[in-house]
Symmetry: C3
Subunit: 354 residues, 3 copies
Amino acid sequence: MKIADIKAFLGNYFDPVELVGADDTEITGPARIEEAGAGQVTFVANEKYYHHIARTGASLLVVGLKAPLGDAPAGTSILKVADPYTAFVFILQNFSGKRRITDSGIAASASVPSSVRLGQNVSVGEHAVIGEYCIIGDDTVIGPNTVLMDNVTIGTGCTLFPLVTCYDGTIIGDRVTIHSGTVIGADGFGFAPQKDGSYIKIPQMGIVQIGDDVEIGANTTIDRATMGATVIEKRAKIDNLVQIAHNCRIGADTVIASQAGISGSVKIGRQCIIGGQAGFAGHLEIADRISVAAKSGISKSFMEPGQAIRGVPAQLMRDQLRQEAQVRGLGEMKKRLEELEARVHELQQDAGDN
Amino acid sequence: MKIADIKAFLGNYFDPVELVGADDTEITGPARIEEAGAGQVTFVANEKYYHHIARTGASLLVVGLKAPLGDAPAGTSILKVADPYTAFVFILQNFSGKRRITDSGIAASASVPSSVRLGQNVSVGEHAVIGEYCIIGDDTVIGPNTVLMDNVTIGTGCTLFPLVTCYDGTIIGDRVTIHSGTVIGADGFGFAPQKDGSYIKIPQMGIVQIGDDVEIGANTTIDRATMGATVIEKRAKIDNLVQIAHNCRIGADTVIASQAGISGSVKIGRQCIIGGQAGFAGHLEIADRISVAAKSGISKSFMEPGQAIRGVPAQLMRDQLRQEAQVRGLGEMKKRLEELEARVHELQQDAGDN
Amino acid sequence: MKIADIKAFLGNYFDPVELVGADDTEITGPARIEEAGAGQVTFVANEKYYHHIARTGASLLVVGLKAPLGDAPAGTSILKVADPYTAFVFILQNFSGKRRITDSGIAASASVPSSVRLGQNVSVGEHAVIGEYCIIGDDTVIGPNTVLMDNVTIGTGCTLFPLVTCYDGTIIGDRVTIHSGTVIGADGFGFAPQKDGSYIKIPQMGIVQIGDDVEIGANTTIDRATMGATVIEKRAKIDNLVQIAHNCRIGADTVIASQAGISGSVKIGRQCIIGGQAGFAGHLEIADRISVAAKSGISKSFMEPGQAIRGVPAQLMRDQLRQEAQVRGLGEMKKRLEELEARVHELQQDAGDN
């Protein structure tokens, strides 16, 4: 694909797209700016990385409209757009071939009972096991060794990688991606304590419901509701090794980083950003557009949209940062206290002398 | 099932069971109080939720003996029992059908060598792989694509969901449930450091032993012992994504919440409650009935039964709460220190004036 | 194997190997010192465990050159070497039989396309699925139900336990061990935020590359790079449930304990020790031989080799310990402040009286 083609293609998304340099070089693929060489396209969005511009060996560099280009190598063509990061994502999408997860159609070794309803162009991988009465939409791919238990419903254009498990009754929207090792719909962790110190299991009769365009990473667990549904709203993005307990609701466009843990019945709003290893106590609510710092421990609800919270227990970012500064200042404070004690001691002695 | 039947059924567990209202309505299933409608049964146990009573559309409401019922809708029948939460669990159990994990019997695609000893009524799912010399007890169900390595022994009435792995030598009691993606008996993380900075692997020759009536969530890992056994005692309940390292012993009726991590050779007593994302350093001991707050980091043993501990490093709950309050009070303390400095400065100037 | 044989065998590694007692007793296996009985070999390395020597029932005890042996039972033979811990590891290796993961050869139920290139003596387990164009080296064992996607390259002498997933393009060196449930090469968690609050997926076009002699625990996730490779250098040891995000580089001989999480593009040096549940923010660098305490939250780079760091946010161990001591001393500090306030109050009253 020539530089001129990339310029034309980005013109579908950005106006203007300014080219400096030759437009007929053949571009064979993308690379990071530190590594890009002849025939490759790279980008710089963050000014922290501007210093790489002078040294790049890339044939094409995508930058913002105001990037300083005085040091750019003569042989490097440059495309300027308003959002070079997103432009580069489009270029990546353009170069990334569709990954083969399994061959088209139903593998001979897959187990697909006759009660299953398959859409057009469904692929089911080797040794995958589909439960009774499952419904799988058009163009959906089920990876090898993945297991759907009974009554699972999956929309169109979904990708379930190998070794995913969906328990019975799970409902998945369209264009959902689920990575390997993830378990959707296992029993919520519900046990009623008895007087003798033992527990009886609370049957987990609900389901998990996943909206359109959700992506879920590897080895994540999303438990079924006790009653009703654990809900992941559309376009939410969930990383690896995340725990989402029974009866949670995760809002649309919310992002949850790796190893975060959401206890039972927590409601997280839309467009929130949950940092890695953050943990939520049960039955809390978090408003829209809240940002939770990594490793935070959230022990109460935060109902005002757009807040940033942090710490264990979590508080507003500014309060937490002030508190952290105060803790760091404890040595200084102690010194001032000791000095003051010495001065007061002196004053008392002086007073005694009087 | 009619309300009269539910009343009779609860009579097996509770005395008294008082009914207010009609007893002939047909109840088709359970629901949460916020969502319950005609034909459904719900409950209120915690007084925080009493305000829902006035608005419920449920046909049957299960409450405690002292719940305020003045606002209950006229069309809602009410059952009063001493422990409405547990009563509702029994109702849930009554309504929950047995989940089909695989068809009865041994799936044709499962791999079951002739050295395996199967009890009566064992089910083994599609593409499950059973190792040599395994023993599987009566009425146990092995899910599709689950793998038992050699010499695994499983008791009666167990349920292993799809995609579970049990390494060689694992011993599992009766009525144990293991959810998908969990790995029992992988090698403990043991490497002997050498002078050149490299490590040599310490062979992990022990096993994992799991008691009766244990339930283990999804994507959890319980490592085999270096020598001897990692032991999960009877009736322990372990959530998703929990790490239990080599040579640990988890006491009977102990509950471990999601993403907790127990380092090697830790001994946890009976009836303990371990919060989510808590972490234990190695070789510690925790007495019976200890409660560990979520996100705690336990770096020493706590040997007095019944204590509550919290924090990083964990200390007794009351000490930790006091310390957290002191940290929150640091701004106030600094103000008082500054005020005092000003007053002492004044006193010194006055003294100088004298 | 007789004690004389064990003495001779250890002589390959240690000089001197001193024997006290009989050398013709038959040793049938190893055991922990608390549990060892007749016919068993055990060891003591740490002086904390010296008190066990007097009570051991072992037939053979391996100790350091300076261990106090006055109380050793008369019937127990003793072998003295410079490093009894490592000596015992060699003894364990000697007694540990090779674990059968699957039968030799390619299981009839495995899926191995004709484009796959297999070395000598490769074993592929039941229902394992190998992608197109994979290359598997001599003596490598692929466990049952494990899935390799397309173009995976694995070296010689590797062990992949059951239910491992390797995404397309993964490159694995020689003698690598990967435990069950681990997912190598899933998509990095990369999404470009858009003005409307939604995200577009950044294609993850890179791979994961794993060096020789690496061991990876169960249910761990190592994501593929966006471009280039996520790299695990040779001899690194990674525990269960660890998250390693896209574009990370983990140095040779580095050890990462369970549930640690490494965000994207982090570079960890060689011979580092990363504690359990530690978390790293993205794009950081950690020098060689750095030790990170469990539960730490690392938010900046540490570039001086050999440092110990701890805390959230992590700082040098000595600074963090001092800060923790100061926080524990807050009650005392408050008392001193109050006392000082009382004394100043008195002084002011005295001054007023004058």
